[in-house]
Symmetry: C2
């Protein structure tokens, strides 16, 4: 999905839900879709303020659930206190995250079997799966230095 298509999708979502298309919502959207890597709410606030310095923290926090629900943003919770977000740039199947515990970098990898697994398991319990997430914590094993990641410095 191109960025323009995501933008279109988001604007349609807002209109359809009776939500207003404000300068702040657009600035926050644009800031998010400039990013290639995962970002936090606080980082998004900084990025959005470059575009429109009237954007407040509250509005960023109020926008993130809307963007997530509209399907243009993926929320990634690696259990580290703060949540990360990533623009969804294509209609991939399920993805998993591999988190390096040394440098905290998050790798997104496709995990097509997850959907099947979620269905299998949930149906045994009488549940209908909505979403699933697989997260792997790992150490860098580069340079034969256990516990140290080259990306960390």
């Amino acid at each position: 999905m191109s960025n323009d298509a995501s933008r279109e999708k988001y604007l349609q979502y807002l209109t359809q839900k009776g939500l207003r298309v404000t300068n702040q919502r657009i600035a926050i959207y644009d800031a998010a879709f400039e990013q290639k890597e995962h970002f936090t709410a606080e980082q998004l606030l900084d990025y959005a303020r470059v575009i429109d310095d009237s954007v407040s923290r509250a509005t960023v926090y109020r926008s993130l659930p809307i963007m997530t629900e509209s399907g243009i943003l993926r929320e990634v919770d690696i259990g580290s206190g703060e949540k990360f977000y990533l623009p969804i740039t294509n209609n991939t199947t399920q993805v998993a995250q591999v988190v390096c515990v040394d440098c905290d970098k998050i790798f997104e990898i496709s995990a097509p079997f997850m959907e099947w697994y979620g269905s299998t398991v949930s149906s045994k319990l009488g549940l209908t799966p909505i979403s699933q997430r697989l997260q792997v914590s790992a150490h860098c094993d580069s340079l034969r230095l256990p516990g140290t990641c080259p990306r960390r410095g």
Copy 2:
């Protein structure tokens, strides 16, 4: 693993690490292993205070990482703000959690393939996997009432 074996394991862990065996640590341990379901730090505080009313919130929070690291407790983070914990009662392989979004009940299910998957994927990235977690969100589909879980009431 029986509860007695877990108790032994925990006491050994404490001693081995040079940590003291205090009444509070034992009370917190005992409170945790009375539980059949997932519990939060706050709930554990309540349970432990029944056994020893001198137990404080701080000590519970300080004990949880120790118990987790000693391998007798599993930490489960479903991204809901607070963490859940569950006594590890047997040496199963990997487990996944299925969380009902209606009643918030957490089901633990074995997922033996996860270990293989973590290894496969991590090695491609030059990483050594430490742990992996799979979580599925689902709706109850009992009673043909979408969006409503019979366990919720």
